[in-house]
Amino acid sequence: MATIVLLTCTGLGLGALYFLVASGLSLIFGLMDVLNFAHGALLSIGAYGAWWAAGGNLPGAGRSGFGFVLAVAFGTAVGTLAAVLLELAVIRPLYTRPREQILATVGVGLAAPALLSAIWGSDARTFPGPVALSGTFPLLGAAIPVNRLVLVAAALVLLVALRLFLGRTRHGLVVRAGVEDRSMVTALGIDVRKAFTLVFAIGGAAAALAGALGGLYFGSVDPGQGTSLLIFAFVVVVMGGMGSITGAAVAAVGVGLVQQFANYYTAAGLGDLAVVVMLAVLVLIRPRGLTGRLA
């Protein structure tokens, strides 16, 4: 029983991480038809930003209490900035050339981790989390790491915030309409490029937050972390239905849980495979993903 509880909580934590990455990816694809292979790089940038700040390099930031919150906020801000720059400098000039756009994001996705390893080395660096978050708490006989809870809380906050943004604000309305028919949005006199930049900023912030909190989850940061998480985030996006936030949330939880349980009860690594099989089966049965949107 304790094992099942622990696996469930860890799976939910992993799912939360996937959701943080996949939500932005899904919105970006849904609105802009851009497969952002550089999304993992944004995650890595967020992770290193938080790690660098928490390591005492940023005045006021540190590894405990408010200092750690500041470090995570710093990492998130750097990732958001990187996302906006990416959209303005790389994605925007290539709007009419989707193939080159994909190649460019792949390039950034390779270059950013390379740059990170050039500066800080390719080895994993210990992530200095606060003591309060490195402990465990008892739940139904299992000792659950506190950081899983932090991840799930962050993912829930993001889910609620995104749903409020999409459902209640004019920008959100523009994004939802743009996911359906971009050119009609411009034909109503709306500059859809502003929505593109906004969505990139939101997606980048979520990914960078995932990087910063992923440091807690894994206990370390390394340049390739973002890229390996990105693969599962893409799986989540396709399963959830492109452009659907709720779909991404459901798929993220499913993928996280299946991966954890399969990796524990069968051979390690089979869980990762099981996720891909799950994706294949779902796409065969429901080509439009869980929410019925075209994948």
């Binding site: 004019r170 309305l173 523009v174 939802r176 309409a177 359906e180 028919d181 050119s183 009609m184 949005v185 411009t186 034909a187 109503l188 006199g189 709306i190 500059d191 859809v192």
Partner: protein
């Protein structure tokens, strides 16, 4: 605003559109009068929709598009539209997953005055009662109402409606025609239309396209009265001679004349019925 005497509101000259290496428009010339309805006619595939999309910059285009005195061919679509154009596209362009109210809210222009909901709700009371319904669950006619309502919400200088009666039931065609007639009292309209009876009833001016070029420009009544010109420009009239003078609505799929304008126009109306039947293949959308 532009007065009736100062010439056309929209002046299109030498509009060319190339998509994927294919020349779709080879130089379209078109004037939209500063008042009333200007009809854009032509057989299927003549380039009517591409002309409209080219004017709006929804497809890459070259040439000259003057709105009033301002050259707009280099403007992005949203900037041009914000200068006062309402556009109801061929497929209605309604956002299916958004509610009716959200579709209308999206068309509001921030910082461009109060949106005219009283007018919209007066013309389409149904849109108020269905405000919270997803637009994708509306009938074709109701979706067309949303599309037209979006063009009426802002004090636009020009309305462009691309085949607004396509695929609608005859009764709804009449309703749409009434709304267009009413809208045209305040705002000039560029109307792409295959239904010649409707053109006869609504349009003052017309332009005829064929193979991406302008074949004819002039008064709508003069063209519609000239059976020879109609046959030459639109291929109309060979099959319609025996049709009943008072064209009756037949099926929902045929954009039949809602009502011939007058009894003494029996013969041309019959010709229209023939045209409607001939072009019904393209129009018949579910």
């Amino acid at each position: 605003m532009t007065s009736q005497l100062t010439g056309p509101l929209l002046t299109v000259r030498g509009l060319r559109v190339v998509i994927g290496g294919r020349h779709i428009l080879h130089g379209v010339d078109l004037d939209v009068a500063a008042c009333g309805i200007t009809a854009l006619l032509g057989r299927n595939g003549a380039g009517k929709t591409t002309t409209v999309r080219g004017i709006l910059g929804l497809v890459p285009r070259t040439g000259s598009v003057l709105l009033g005195a301002e050259e707009t061919v280099r403007l992005a679509t949203h900037s041009l539209v914000r200068r006062g154009i309402g556009y109801a596209p061929e497929d209605r362009g309604v956002f299916a997953s958004l509610t009716v109210a959200e579709n209308l809210r999206l068309a509001e222009r921030v910082g461009a005055g109060e949106p005219d909901y009283p007018l919209v709700h007066e013309l389409f009371p149904e849109l108020r009662t269905r405000a919270r319904q997803a637009a994708g669950t509306l009938s074709g006619g109701q979706q067309q109402m949303v599309a037209i309502a979006r063009t009426l919400l802002n004090g636009n200088r020009l309305i462009i409606a691309d085949e607004p009666t396509k695929g609608l039931a005859p009764k709804v065609v009449t309703e749409v025609a009434q709304v267009l007639e009413r809208a045209a009292e305040a705002v000039p309209v560029l109307l792409v239309e295959q239904n010649l009876a409707l053109v006869r009833r609504l349009a003052a001016h017309c332009a005829v396209l064929a193979d991406g070029r302008t074949l004819h420009r002039g008064a709508a009544a003069a063209l519609l009265a000239d059976a020879e010109a109609l046959r030459r420009l639109l291929g109309v009239g060979r099959h319609g001679a025996d049709a009943p003078a008072e064209a009756q609505p037949r099926t929902a799929l045929e954009p039949t004349a809602p009502r011939p304008a007058a009894a003494d126009e029996g013969r041309p109306a019959a010709a229209d019925a023939g045209n409607a039947a001939r072009t019904a293949g393209k129009e018949a959308t579910p």
